[in-house]
Assembly symmetry: C2
Homo-oligomer: 328 residues x 2
Protein backbone atom coordinates (compact mmCIF):
# COMPACT_ATOMS: atom_id res chain seq x y z
CA UNK A 1 0.00 0.00 0.00
CA UNK A 2 1.42 3.41 -0.98
CA UNK A 3 1.70 6.40 1.32
CA UNK A 4 -1.20 8.20 -0.28
CA UNK A 5 -3.51 5.19 -0.14
CA UNK A 6 -2.58 4.82 3.51
CA UNK A 7 -3.52 8.41 4.27
CA UNK A 8 -6.75 8.09 2.38
CA UNK A 9 -7.76 4.85 4.01
CA UNK A 10 -7.20 5.68 7.65
CA UNK A 11 -6.91 9.39 8.05
CA UNK A 12 -9.16 11.10 5.51
CA UNK A 13 -12.25 12.33 7.31
CA UNK A 14 -15.00 14.83 6.72
CA UNK A 15 -13.88 18.26 7.95
CA UNK A 16 -17.09 20.26 8.28
CA UNK A 17 -15.39 23.12 10.12
CA UNK A 18 -12.25 23.44 8.03
CA UNK A 19 -12.39 25.29 4.73
CA UNK A 20 -10.07 22.63 3.33
CA UNK A 21 -8.92 19.41 4.98
CA UNK A 22 -6.48 16.57 4.24
CA UNK A 23 -5.19 16.33 0.68
CA UNK A 24 -3.83 19.68 -0.49
CA UNK A 25 -0.46 21.30 0.29
CA UNK A 26 -2.05 23.05 3.26
CA UNK A 27 -5.21 22.79 5.28
CA UNK A 28 -7.27 25.98 5.51
CA UNK A 29 -9.07 27.11 8.64
CA UNK A 30 -11.30 30.16 9.00
CA UNK A 31 -10.90 31.38 12.59
CA UNK A 32 -14.01 32.97 14.09
CA UNK A 33 -13.74 36.78 14.04
CA UNK A 34 -11.68 38.14 16.93
CA UNK A 35 -10.80 34.76 18.42
CA UNK A 36 -7.21 33.93 19.33
CA UNK A 37 -5.69 30.70 18.15
CA UNK A 38 -4.06 28.44 20.77
CA UNK A 39 -1.45 26.06 19.35
CA UNK A 40 0.43 23.19 20.95
CA UNK A 41 2.64 20.42 19.61
CA UNK A 42 3.70 17.15 21.28
CA UNK A 43 5.91 14.37 19.98
CA UNK A 44 5.57 10.81 21.31
CA UNK A 45 8.47 8.36 20.95
CA UNK A 46 8.37 4.62 21.57
CA UNK A 47 10.14 3.59 24.76
CA UNK A 48 10.05 7.14 26.06
CA UNK A 49 6.35 8.02 26.08
CA UNK A 50 4.81 4.61 25.56
CA UNK A 51 5.73 0.94 25.70
CA UNK A 52 6.13 -1.04 22.50
CA UNK A 53 3.42 -3.42 23.73
CA UNK A 54 0.76 -0.72 24.09
CA UNK A 55 -2.61 -1.25 22.42
CA UNK A 56 -2.51 0.89 19.24
CA UNK A 57 -6.03 2.16 19.93
CA UNK A 58 -4.93 3.40 23.36
CA UNK A 59 -1.86 4.99 21.79
CA UNK A 60 -4.00 6.81 19.24
CA UNK A 61 -6.15 8.10 22.09
CA UNK A 62 -3.19 9.19 24.18
CA UNK A 63 -1.33 10.91 21.33
CA UNK A 64 -4.25 13.31 20.89
CA UNK A 65 -5.17 13.43 24.60
CA UNK A 66 -1.81 14.89 25.64
CA UNK A 67 -2.27 17.67 23.07
CA UNK A 68 -5.88 18.37 24.06
CA UNK A 69 -4.61 18.57 27.63
CA UNK A 70 -2.44 21.54 26.61
CA UNK A 71 -5.48 23.27 25.13
CA UNK A 72 -7.38 22.51 28.36
CA UNK A 73 -4.60 24.16 30.36
CA UNK A 74 -5.11 27.33 28.29
CA UNK A 75 -8.91 27.23 28.46
CA UNK A 76 -9.07 26.85 24.69
CA UNK A 77 -11.83 25.12 22.71
CA UNK A 78 -10.36 22.41 20.43
CA UNK A 79 -10.82 22.98 16.69
CA UNK A 80 -8.44 20.91 14.61
CA UNK A 81 -5.16 19.01 14.57
CA UNK A 82 -2.46 17.73 12.25
CA UNK A 83 -0.85 14.31 12.57
CA UNK A 84 2.70 13.53 11.44
CA UNK A 85 3.55 9.87 11.73
CA UNK A 86 6.80 7.97 11.19
CA UNK A 87 6.19 4.21 10.97
CA UNK A 88 8.55 1.27 10.47
CA UNK A 89 6.02 -0.13 7.98
CA UNK A 90 2.53 0.54 6.68
CA UNK A 91 0.85 -2.10 8.82
CA UNK A 92 -2.95 -2.14 8.62
CA UNK A 93 -3.21 -4.21 11.80
CA UNK A 94 -1.61 -1.29 13.64
CA UNK A 95 -3.00 1.62 11.64
CA UNK A 96 -6.63 0.64 11.89
CA UNK A 97 -6.89 0.53 15.70
CA UNK A 98 -4.51 3.49 16.05
CA UNK A 99 -6.67 5.65 13.81
CA UNK A 100 -9.85 4.46 15.54
CA UNK A 101 -8.54 5.37 18.99
CA UNK A 102 -7.28 8.71 17.72
CA UNK A 103 -10.39 9.67 15.82
CA UNK A 104 -12.83 8.55 18.53
CA UNK A 105 -11.29 11.08 20.92
CA UNK A 106 -11.13 13.67 18.14
CA UNK A 107 -14.84 13.19 17.47
CA UNK A 108 -15.67 13.45 21.18
CA UNK A 109 -14.10 16.93 21.16
CA UNK A 110 -15.19 17.94 17.62
CA UNK A 111 -11.50 18.33 16.83
CA UNK A 112 -10.90 17.74 13.14
CA UNK A 113 -7.91 16.01 11.58
CA UNK A 114 -7.04 18.53 8.83
CA UNK A 115 -3.63 17.43 7.60
CA UNK A 116 -0.23 16.02 8.34
CA UNK A 117 2.47 13.75 7.02
CA UNK A 118 3.42 10.08 6.98
CA UNK A 119 6.85 8.62 6.42
CA UNK A 120 8.82 5.49 7.06
CA UNK A 121 11.06 5.64 10.14
CA UNK A 122 11.32 4.70 13.80
CA UNK A 123 7.82 5.00 15.30
CA UNK A 124 7.15 8.65 16.12
CA UNK A 125 3.85 10.46 16.53
CA UNK A 126 3.76 14.24 16.32
CA UNK A 127 0.44 16.00 16.75
CA UNK A 128 -0.10 19.75 16.56
CA UNK A 129 -3.44 20.91 17.88
CA UNK A 130 -5.34 24.16 17.38
CA UNK A 131 -7.99 25.66 19.60
CA UNK A 132 -9.66 29.01 19.99
CA UNK A 133 -10.05 31.31 22.95
CA UNK A 134 -11.49 34.83 23.25
CA UNK A 135 -8.76 37.50 23.56
CA UNK A 136 -7.57 37.98 27.14
CA UNK A 137 -9.32 34.84 28.41
CA UNK A 138 -6.57 32.26 27.92
CA UNK A 139 -5.34 30.67 31.14
CA UNK A 140 -1.62 31.38 31.39
CA UNK A 141 1.12 30.11 33.66
CA UNK A 142 2.04 33.64 34.64
CA UNK A 143 -1.11 34.74 36.48
CA UNK A 144 -0.65 33.22 39.97
CA UNK A 145 -0.68 35.78 42.80
CA UNK A 146 0.38 35.56 46.46
CA UNK A 147 -2.59 34.40 48.51
CA UNK A 148 -4.22 32.44 45.65
CA UNK A 149 -5.49 28.95 46.40
CA UNK A 150 -3.77 26.07 44.63
CA UNK A 151 -5.89 23.31 43.09
CA UNK A 152 -5.49 20.11 41.16
CA UNK A 153 -8.16 18.28 39.17
CA UNK A 154 -9.03 14.59 39.30
CA UNK A 155 -6.57 12.02 40.61
CA UNK A 156 -2.78 11.83 40.78
CA UNK A 157 -0.17 9.08 40.64
CA UNK A 158 -2.27 6.27 39.19
CA UNK A 159 -0.63 6.42 35.76
CA UNK A 160 2.77 6.07 37.40
CA UNK A 161 1.54 3.13 39.45
CA UNK A 162 0.46 1.34 36.26
CA UNK A 163 3.87 2.09 34.76
CA UNK A 164 5.57 0.59 37.82
CA UNK A 165 3.44 -2.55 37.45
CA UNK A 166 4.70 -2.83 33.84
CA UNK A 167 8.22 -2.26 35.16
CA UNK A 168 7.71 -5.06 37.69
CA UNK A 169 8.36 -2.96 40.79
CA UNK A 170 4.75 -3.05 41.96
CA UNK A 171 1.82 -5.43 41.90
CA UNK A 172 -1.82 -4.45 42.09
CA UNK A 173 -5.08 -6.39 42.31
CA UNK A 174 -6.52 -6.84 38.84
CA UNK A 175 -9.34 -4.30 39.18
CA UNK A 176 -7.00 -1.65 40.59
CA UNK A 177 -4.41 -2.29 37.86
CA UNK A 178 -7.08 -2.04 35.21
CA UNK A 179 -8.16 1.33 36.62
CA UNK A 180 -4.59 2.62 36.91
CA UNK A 181 -3.77 1.38 33.42
CA UNK A 182 -6.69 3.36 32.00
CA UNK A 183 -5.16 6.46 33.55
CA UNK A 184 -1.78 5.69 31.97
CA UNK A 185 -3.00 4.65 28.54
CA UNK A 186 -6.21 6.61 28.11
CA UNK A 187 -5.84 9.88 30.01
CA UNK A 188 -8.83 12.22 30.02
CA UNK A 189 -7.91 15.70 28.81
CA UNK A 190 -9.68 18.20 31.08
CA UNK A 191 -10.99 20.32 28.26
CA UNK A 192 -14.40 21.03 29.85
CA UNK A 193 -12.74 22.09 33.10
CA UNK A 194 -10.30 24.39 31.31
CA UNK A 195 -13.20 26.08 29.53
CA UNK A 196 -15.18 26.41 32.78
CA UNK A 197 -12.17 27.95 34.54
CA UNK A 198 -11.91 30.88 32.09
CA UNK A 199 -12.32 34.04 34.14
CA UNK A 200 -12.08 32.00 37.37
CA UNK A 201 -8.54 30.57 37.55
CA UNK A 202 -5.62 32.99 37.73
CA UNK A 203 -3.08 30.53 36.28
CA UNK A 204 -3.07 26.95 35.00
CA UNK A 205 -0.85 24.25 33.53
CA UNK A 206 -1.42 20.63 32.68
CA UNK A 207 0.40 17.93 34.61
CA UNK A 208 2.43 15.88 32.18
CA UNK A 209 5.77 15.70 33.98
CA UNK A 210 4.47 15.43 37.55
CA UNK A 211 2.55 17.84 39.81
CA UNK A 212 5.59 19.55 41.32
CA UNK A 213 7.42 19.94 38.02
CA UNK A 214 4.46 21.52 36.27
CA UNK A 215 3.51 23.60 39.30
CA UNK A 216 7.11 24.82 39.18
CA UNK A 217 6.44 26.24 35.71
CA UNK A 218 3.53 28.27 37.07
CA UNK A 219 5.62 29.52 39.99
CA UNK A 220 8.52 30.50 37.78
CA UNK A 221 6.33 32.26 35.24
CA UNK A 222 4.44 34.07 38.02
CA UNK A 223 7.46 34.88 40.22
CA UNK A 224 5.86 33.32 43.30
CA UNK A 225 6.24 30.32 45.61
CA UNK A 226 3.77 27.76 46.91
CA UNK A 227 3.09 25.59 49.90
CA UNK A 228 1.65 22.17 49.01
CA UNK A 229 -0.03 19.76 51.40
CA UNK A 230 1.68 16.52 50.36
CA UNK A 231 -0.81 14.37 52.25
CA UNK A 232 -3.84 15.88 50.56
CA UNK A 233 -2.14 15.40 47.19
CA UNK A 234 -1.13 11.84 48.03
CA UNK A 235 -4.72 11.04 48.98
CA UNK A 236 -5.64 11.75 45.35
CA UNK A 237 -4.19 8.42 44.23
CA UNK A 238 -7.41 6.67 43.21
CA UNK A 239 -6.05 3.14 43.48
CA UNK A 240 -4.19 3.81 46.73
CA UNK A 241 -6.38 1.59 48.90
CA UNK A 242 -5.65 -1.39 46.65
CA UNK A 243 -1.92 -1.27 46.90
CA UNK A 244 0.20 -4.28 47.71
CA UNK A 245 3.80 -4.16 46.71
CA UNK A 246 5.72 -6.84 44.88
CA UNK A 247 8.57 -6.30 47.30
CA UNK A 248 7.03 -5.56 50.68
CA UNK A 249 4.69 -2.76 51.70
CA UNK A 250 4.14 0.08 49.24
CA UNK A 251 5.14 2.79 51.67
CA UNK A 252 4.06 6.39 52.12
CA UNK A 253 7.28 7.62 50.55
CA UNK A 254 6.56 5.94 47.21
CA UNK A 255 2.94 7.04 47.34
CA UNK A 256 4.07 10.62 47.81
CA UNK A 257 6.58 10.28 45.00
CA UNK A 258 3.99 8.97 42.55
CA UNK A 259 1.36 11.56 43.50
CA UNK A 260 3.75 14.53 43.52
CA UNK A 261 6.14 13.61 40.73
CA UNK A 262 4.69 10.54 39.03
CA UNK A 263 4.10 11.99 35.58
CA UNK A 264 1.49 11.27 32.90
CA UNK A 265 -1.44 12.48 35.02
CA UNK A 266 -2.81 14.96 32.45
CA UNK A 267 -4.76 16.74 35.15
CA UNK A 268 -4.82 20.52 35.54
CA UNK A 269 -2.93 22.33 38.30
CA UNK A 270 -4.31 25.83 38.72
CA UNK A 271 -4.61 28.79 41.02
CA UNK A 272 -7.54 31.06 41.88
CA UNK A 273 -8.13 33.84 44.40
CA UNK A 274 -9.68 32.75 47.70
CA UNK A 275 -12.70 34.87 46.75
CA UNK A 276 -13.34 32.50 43.84
CA UNK A 277 -13.78 29.28 45.87
CA UNK A 278 -17.46 28.98 45.03
CA UNK A 279 -16.78 29.78 41.38
CA UNK A 280 -14.10 27.08 41.26
CA UNK A 281 -16.49 24.49 42.67
CA UNK A 282 -19.19 25.63 40.24
CA UNK A 283 -16.72 25.21 37.35
CA UNK A 284 -15.81 21.74 38.61
CA UNK A 285 -19.48 20.79 38.83
CA UNK A 286 -20.19 22.17 35.37
CA UNK A 287 -17.27 20.19 33.94
CA UNK A 288 -18.17 17.11 36.02
CA UNK A 289 -14.53 17.02 37.12
CA UNK A 290 -13.57 16.95 40.80
CA UNK A 291 -11.02 19.53 41.94
CA UNK A 292 -9.13 19.53 45.24
CA UNK A 293 -7.47 22.43 47.03
CA UNK A 294 -3.93 21.28 47.79
CA UNK A 295 -2.13 24.43 48.87
CA UNK A 296 -1.53 28.13 48.66
CA UNK A 297 0.53 30.56 46.62
CA UNK A 298 2.98 32.52 48.77
CA UNK A 299 5.81 34.95 48.21
CA UNK A 300 8.90 33.31 46.83
CA UNK A 301 11.70 33.16 49.38
CA UNK A 302 14.98 34.74 48.30
CA UNK A 303 16.69 31.44 49.10
CA UNK A 304 15.54 27.84 48.83
CA UNK A 305 13.04 26.03 46.64
CA UNK A 306 9.90 27.65 45.27
CA UNK A 307 7.73 24.84 46.65
CA UNK A 308 7.40 24.06 50.36
CA UNK A 309 5.90 20.63 51.05
CA UNK A 310 4.07 20.10 54.33
CA UNK A 311 2.27 17.08 55.80
CA UNK A 312 -1.24 16.91 57.23
CA UNK A 313 0.04 18.42 60.49
CA UNK A 314 1.61 21.38 58.71
CA UNK A 315 5.11 20.02 59.34
CA UNK A 316 7.66 20.66 56.65
CA UNK A 317 8.64 17.68 54.47
CA UNK A 318 11.96 17.42 52.69
CA UNK A 319 11.50 15.08 49.73
CA UNK A 320 13.81 14.76 46.76
CA UNK A 321 11.32 14.56 43.90
CA UNK A 322 12.61 16.10 40.69
CA UNK A 323 10.20 16.79 37.86
CA UNK A 324 10.59 14.46 34.93
CA UNK A 325 12.97 15.92 32.35
CA UNK A 326 13.35 14.30 28.95
CA UNK A 327 17.00 15.37 28.87
CA UNK A 328 17.69 15.40 32.62
CA UNK B 1 21.69 20.32 30.32
CA UNK B 2 17.97 19.79 31.02
CA UNK B 3 15.22 19.86 28.44
CA UNK B 4 13.97 23.25 29.52
CA UNK B 5 17.41 24.84 29.51
CA UNK B 6 17.89 23.41 26.05
CA UNK B 7 14.69 24.97 24.77
CA UNK B 8 15.52 28.28 26.36
CA UNK B 9 19.04 28.38 25.06
CA UNK B 10 18.48 27.59 21.41
CA UNK B 11 14.84 28.05 20.61
CA UNK B 12 13.43 30.88 22.71
CA UNK B 13 13.12 33.92 20.50
CA UNK B 14 11.25 37.19 20.51
CA UNK B 15 7.79 36.68 19.03
CA UNK B 16 6.59 40.19 18.18
CA UNK B 17 3.61 38.95 16.18
CA UNK B 18 2.40 36.20 18.51
CA UNK B 19 0.32 37.09 21.55
CA UNK B 20 2.26 34.44 23.46
CA UNK B 21 5.30 32.47 22.31
CA UNK B 22 7.43 29.58 23.59
CA UNK B 23 7.05 28.66 27.25
CA UNK B 24 3.37 28.20 28.14
CA UNK B 25 1.13 25.20 27.49
CA UNK B 26 0.06 26.75 24.20
CA UNK B 27 1.21 29.54 21.95
CA UNK B 28 -1.41 32.17 21.16
CA UNK B 29 -1.81 33.80 17.77
CA UNK B 30 -4.23 36.56 16.86
CA UNK B 31 -5.19 36.03 13.21
CA UNK B 32 -5.89 39.19 11.25
CA UNK B 33 -9.64 39.75 10.88
CA UNK B 34 -11.15 37.70 8.06
CA UNK B 35 -7.94 35.95 7.06
CA UNK B 36 -7.84 32.20 6.59
CA UNK B 37 -5.16 30.17 8.27
CA UNK B 38 -3.08 27.81 6.09
CA UNK B 39 -1.50 24.93 7.99
CA UNK B 40 1.03 22.32 6.92
CA UNK B 41 3.11 19.75 8.78
CA UNK B 42 6.19 17.83 7.60
CA UNK B 43 8.26 15.24 9.41
CA UNK B 44 11.93 14.65 8.48
CA UNK B 45 13.62 11.38 9.39
CA UNK B 46 17.33 10.61 9.19
CA UNK B 47 18.25 8.30 6.33
CA UNK B 48 14.94 9.00 4.63
CA UNK B 49 14.91 12.77 4.16
CA UNK B 50 18.52 13.61 4.93
CA UNK B 51 21.88 11.92 5.29
CA UNK B 52 23.41 11.48 8.73
CA UNK B 53 26.43 13.45 7.54
CA UNK B 54 24.45 16.57 6.62
CA UNK B 55 25.57 19.92 8.03
CA UNK B 56 23.16 20.65 10.94
CA UNK B 57 22.77 24.27 9.79
CA UNK B 58 21.65 23.06 6.35
CA UNK B 59 19.27 20.59 8.01
CA UNK B 60 17.73 23.35 10.12
CA UNK B 61 17.23 25.38 6.94
CA UNK B 62 15.72 22.49 5.03
CA UNK B 63 13.36 21.39 7.81
CA UNK B 64 11.64 24.77 7.70
CA UNK B 65 12.07 25.26 3.93
CA UNK B 66 10.00 22.19 3.04
CA UNK B 67 7.17 23.52 5.21
CA UNK B 68 7.39 27.05 3.83
CA UNK B 69 7.25 25.44 0.39
CA UNK B 70 3.78 24.09 1.27
CA UNK B 71 2.65 27.58 2.24
CA UNK B 72 4.10 28.88 -1.03
CA UNK B 73 2.07 26.31 -2.95
CA UNK B 74 -1.08 27.73 -1.32
CA UNK B 75 -0.12 31.36 -1.82
CA UNK B 76 -0.06 31.89 1.95
CA UNK B 77 2.04 34.43 3.83
CA UNK B 78 4.14 32.69 6.54
CA UNK B 79 3.32 33.69 10.12
CA UNK B 80 4.63 31.19 12.65
CA UNK B 81 5.72 27.60 13.21
CA UNK B 82 6.15 24.97 15.90
CA UNK B 83 9.14 22.65 16.13
CA UNK B 84 9.00 19.17 17.66
CA UNK B 85 12.40 17.55 17.88
CA UNK B 86 13.48 14.06 18.94
CA UNK B 87 17.22 13.87 19.54
CA UNK B 88 19.50 11.02 20.59
CA UNK B 89 21.19 13.47 22.98
CA UNK B 90 21.19 17.16 23.84
CA UNK B 91 24.33 17.99 21.89
CA UNK B 92 25.19 21.69 21.75
CA UNK B 93 27.57 21.13 18.82
CA UNK B 94 24.55 19.98 16.81
CA UNK B 95 21.83 22.18 18.32
CA UNK B 96 23.63 25.46 17.85
CA UNK B 97 24.16 25.25 14.07
CA UNK B 98 20.78 23.52 13.60
CA UNK B 99 18.95 26.34 15.36
CA UNK B 100 20.99 28.96 13.49
CA UNK B 101 20.13 27.48 10.09
CA UNK B 102 16.49 27.11 11.08
CA UNK B 103 16.06 30.56 12.56
CA UNK B 104 17.94 32.36 9.79
CA UNK B 105 15.38 31.12 7.27
CA UNK B 106 12.56 31.85 9.74
CA UNK B 107 13.79 35.43 10.11
CA UNK B 108 14.07 35.86 6.35
CA UNK B 109 10.35 35.07 6.10
CA UNK B 110 9.28 36.77 9.38
CA UNK B 111 8.01 33.36 10.46
CA UNK B 112 8.10 33.06 14.24
CA UNK B 113 8.96 29.98 16.26
CA UNK B 114 6.08 29.98 18.76
CA UNK B 115 6.28 26.58 20.43
CA UNK B 116 6.98 22.91 20.18
CA UNK B 117 8.43 19.97 21.99
CA UNK B 118 11.78 18.27 22.54
CA UNK B 119 12.37 14.69 23.58
CA UNK B 120 15.03 12.04 23.51
CA UNK B 121 14.67 9.55 20.66
CA UNK B 122 15.87 8.67 17.17
CA UNK B 123 16.50 11.96 15.31
CA UNK B 124 13.19 13.27 14.01
CA UNK B 125 12.21 16.81 13.09
CA UNK B 126 8.53 17.72 12.84
CA UNK B 127 7.60 21.26 11.91
CA UNK B 128 4.07 22.60 11.62
CA UNK B 129 3.81 25.94 9.87
CA UNK B 130 1.02 28.53 9.82
CA UNK B 131 0.36 31.16 7.21
CA UNK B 132 -2.48 33.44 6.28
CA UNK B 133 -4.33 33.97 3.05
CA UNK B 134 -7.40 36.07 2.21
CA UNK B 135 -10.57 33.96 1.84
CA UNK B 136 -10.96 32.49 -1.64
CA UNK B 137 -7.41 33.39 -2.70
CA UNK B 138 -5.57 30.22 -1.65
CA UNK B 139 -4.00 28.33 -4.56
CA UNK B 140 -5.50 24.82 -4.54
CA UNK B 141 -4.67 21.64 -6.37
CA UNK B 142 -8.21 21.37 -7.66
CA UNK B 143 -8.40 24.45 -9.90
CA UNK B 144 -6.69 23.28 -13.12
CA UNK B 145 -8.91 23.54 -16.22
CA UNK B 146 -8.61 22.03 -19.71
CA UNK B 147 -6.63 24.43 -21.89
CA UNK B 148 -4.62 25.94 -19.00
CA UNK B 149 -0.89 26.34 -19.46
CA UNK B 150 1.36 24.27 -17.21
CA UNK B 151 4.36 25.92 -15.57
CA UNK B 152 7.21 25.09 -13.26
CA UNK B 153 9.39 27.51 -11.30
CA UNK B 154 13.18 27.55 -11.10
CA UNK B 155 15.24 24.48 -11.87
CA UNK B 156 14.61 20.74 -11.68
CA UNK B 157 16.69 17.64 -10.97
CA UNK B 158 19.75 19.25 -9.40
CA UNK B 159 18.91 18.09 -5.88
CA UNK B 160 18.64 14.53 -7.15
CA UNK B 161 21.97 14.86 -8.95
CA UNK B 162 23.64 15.90 -5.70
CA UNK B 163 22.01 12.92 -3.98
CA UNK B 164 23.37 10.61 -6.67
CA UNK B 165 26.86 12.04 -6.14
CA UNK B 166 26.52 11.18 -2.44
CA UNK B 167 25.30 7.74 -3.47
CA UNK B 168 28.37 7.34 -5.70
CA UNK B 169 26.46 6.79 -8.95
CA UNK B 170 27.47 10.13 -10.43
CA UNK B 171 30.43 12.47 -10.36
CA UNK B 172 30.32 16.20 -11.01
CA UNK B 173 32.93 18.92 -11.32
CA UNK B 174 33.36 20.63 -7.95
CA UNK B 175 31.56 23.86 -8.85
CA UNK B 176 28.59 21.99 -10.30
CA UNK B 177 28.40 19.66 -7.31
CA UNK B 178 28.51 22.61 -4.95
CA UNK B 179 25.61 24.21 -6.84
CA UNK B 180 23.59 20.99 -6.93
CA UNK B 181 24.28 20.33 -3.27
CA UNK B 182 22.88 23.74 -2.36
CA UNK B 183 19.67 22.73 -4.10
CA UNK B 184 19.52 19.47 -2.15
CA UNK B 185 20.47 20.82 1.25
CA UNK B 186 19.25 24.41 1.16
CA UNK B 187 16.18 24.53 -1.06
CA UNK B 188 14.57 27.93 -1.62
CA UNK B 189 10.88 27.92 -0.74
CA UNK B 190 9.06 29.87 -3.44
CA UNK B 191 7.03 31.96 -1.02
CA UNK B 192 7.25 35.22 -2.99
CA UNK B 193 6.15 33.45 -6.18
CA UNK B 194 3.20 31.79 -4.43
CA UNK B 195 2.04 35.17 -3.15
CA UNK B 196 2.47 36.78 -6.59
CA UNK B 197 0.46 33.98 -8.23
CA UNK B 198 -2.66 34.61 -6.13
CA UNK B 199 -5.43 35.47 -8.56
CA UNK B 200 -3.21 34.43 -11.49
CA UNK B 201 -2.60 30.68 -11.16
CA UNK B 202 -5.59 28.33 -11.34
CA UNK B 203 -3.90 25.50 -9.39
CA UNK B 204 -0.55 24.89 -7.71
CA UNK B 205 1.45 22.33 -5.74
CA UNK B 206 5.01 22.22 -4.54
CA UNK B 207 7.41 19.65 -5.97
CA UNK B 208 8.73 17.54 -3.14
CA UNK B 209 8.33 14.05 -4.59
CA UNK B 210 9.20 14.84 -8.22
CA UNK B 211 7.49 16.94 -10.89
CA UNK B 212 5.31 14.18 -12.31
CA UNK B 213 4.19 12.88 -8.92
CA UNK B 214 3.16 16.28 -7.65
CA UNK B 215 1.64 17.30 -10.97
CA UNK B 216 -0.35 14.08 -10.65
CA UNK B 217 -1.90 15.42 -7.45
CA UNK B 218 -3.10 18.52 -9.30
CA UNK B 219 -4.50 16.42 -12.14
CA UNK B 220 -6.30 14.05 -9.79
CA UNK B 221 -7.76 16.85 -7.68
CA UNK B 222 -8.83 18.75 -10.82
CA UNK B 223 -10.08 15.75 -12.80
CA UNK B 224 -7.94 16.60 -15.83
CA UNK B 225 -4.90 15.34 -17.73
CA UNK B 226 -1.74 17.04 -18.96
CA UNK B 227 0.79 16.90 -21.73
CA UNK B 228 4.34 17.68 -20.59
CA UNK B 229 7.28 18.52 -22.84
CA UNK B 230 9.94 16.31 -21.28
CA UNK B 231 12.76 18.03 -23.12
CA UNK B 232 11.80 21.50 -21.91
CA UNK B 233 11.58 20.14 -18.36
CA UNK B 234 14.90 18.30 -18.68
CA UNK B 235 16.56 21.50 -19.87
CA UNK B 236 15.73 22.96 -16.45
CA UNK B 237 18.55 20.99 -14.82
CA UNK B 238 20.88 23.84 -13.91
CA UNK B 239 24.02 21.74 -13.66
CA UNK B 240 23.23 19.69 -16.76
CA UNK B 241 26.06 21.10 -18.85
CA UNK B 242 28.60 20.01 -16.23
CA UNK B 243 27.66 16.36 -16.14
CA UNK B 244 30.14 13.56 -16.42
CA UNK B 245 29.09 10.21 -15.12
CA UNK B 246 31.08 7.98 -12.82
CA UNK B 247 30.15 5.06 -15.02
CA UNK B 248 30.16 6.32 -18.57
CA UNK B 249 28.08 9.06 -20.15
CA UNK B 250 25.23 10.52 -18.09
CA UNK B 251 22.61 9.87 -20.68
CA UNK B 252 19.41 11.63 -21.63
CA UNK B 253 17.36 8.94 -19.92
CA UNK B 254 18.84 9.67 -16.48
CA UNK B 255 18.58 13.40 -17.07
CA UNK B 256 14.89 13.01 -17.86
CA UNK B 257 14.41 10.84 -14.79
CA UNK B 258 16.03 13.35 -12.46
CA UNK B 259 14.19 16.34 -13.95
CA UNK B 260 10.78 14.66 -14.09
CA UNK B 261 10.88 12.46 -11.00
CA UNK B 262 14.01 13.41 -9.09
CA UNK B 263 12.42 14.69 -5.91
CA UNK B 264 13.47 17.38 -3.41
CA UNK B 265 13.14 20.22 -5.92
CA UNK B 266 10.80 22.39 -3.79
CA UNK B 267 9.75 24.33 -6.85
CA UNK B 268 6.14 25.16 -7.68
CA UNK B 269 4.22 23.38 -10.44
CA UNK B 270 1.17 25.44 -11.39
CA UNK B 271 -1.42 26.08 -14.03
CA UNK B 272 -2.89 29.30 -15.42
CA UNK B 273 -5.22 30.17 -18.28
CA UNK B 274 -3.52 31.06 -21.56
CA UNK B 275 -5.00 34.55 -21.15
CA UNK B 276 -2.81 35.01 -18.05
CA UNK B 277 0.58 34.52 -19.74
CA UNK B 278 1.62 38.13 -19.21
CA UNK B 279 0.36 38.06 -15.63
CA UNK B 280 2.36 34.88 -14.96
CA UNK B 281 5.55 36.50 -16.26
CA UNK B 282 4.81 39.64 -14.24
CA UNK B 283 4.40 37.50 -11.11
CA UNK B 284 7.68 35.73 -11.87
CA UNK B 285 9.44 39.06 -12.32
CA UNK B 286 7.92 40.45 -9.12
CA UNK B 287 9.08 37.35 -7.21
CA UNK B 288 12.45 37.33 -8.99
CA UNK B 289 11.84 33.66 -9.73
CA UNK B 290 12.02 32.28 -13.28
CA UNK B 291 9.08 30.22 -14.47
CA UNK B 292 8.95 28.01 -17.56
CA UNK B 293 5.94 26.82 -19.51
CA UNK B 294 6.35 23.03 -19.80
CA UNK B 295 3.00 21.84 -21.05
CA UNK B 296 -0.76 22.06 -21.23
CA UNK B 297 -3.76 20.82 -19.30
CA UNK B 298 -6.02 18.60 -21.41
CA UNK B 299 -9.06 16.43 -20.88
CA UNK B 300 -8.28 13.25 -19.06
CA UNK B 301 -8.53 10.19 -21.28
CA UNK B 302 -10.91 7.46 -20.10
CA UNK B 303 -8.00 5.02 -20.33
CA UNK B 304 -4.28 5.41 -19.73
CA UNK B 305 -2.14 7.70 -17.62
CA UNK B 306 -3.15 11.26 -16.74
CA UNK B 307 0.18 12.61 -18.00
CA UNK B 308 1.36 12.35 -21.62
CA UNK B 309 5.08 12.98 -22.04
CA UNK B 310 6.31 14.28 -25.39
CA UNK B 311 9.76 15.22 -26.65
CA UNK B 312 10.83 18.43 -28.37
CA UNK B 313 9.41 17.12 -31.66
CA UNK B 314 6.03 16.42 -30.09
CA UNK B 315 6.64 12.67 -30.23
CA UNK B 316 5.18 10.64 -27.41
CA UNK B 317 7.66 9.31 -24.83
CA UNK B 318 6.99 6.26 -22.70
CA UNK B 319 9.08 6.54 -19.57
CA UNK B 320 8.60 4.56 -16.37
CA UNK B 321 9.08 7.27 -13.74
CA UNK B 322 7.01 6.72 -10.64
CA UNK B 323 6.64 9.55 -8.13
CA UNK B 324 8.52 9.00 -4.93
CA UNK B 325 6.35 7.28 -2.32
CA UNK B 326 7.51 6.98 1.28
CA UNK B 327 5.67 3.68 1.60
CA UNK B 328 5.88 2.58 -2.03
Amino acid sequence: MGEFDLIRRYFTRPTPHAVLGVGDDCALLQPRPGMQLAISSDMLVEGRHFLSTVDPAALGHKALAVNLSDLAACGAQPLAFTLALALPSADAAWLEPFSQGLLALADAHSCELVGGDTTRGPLNICITVFGEVPPGQALLRSGARVGDDLYVSGTLGDARMALEVFRGTLSLPEAAFSQARQRLERPTPRVALGLALRGVASAAADISDGLLGDLGHILQASGVGAVVDADVATNLIATRADISCASGIFGLEKQREYALAGGDDYELVFTAPASARQAVQAAAAQAQTPVTRIGLIEARAAQGPAIRLVDADGQRLDLDLPGFDHFG
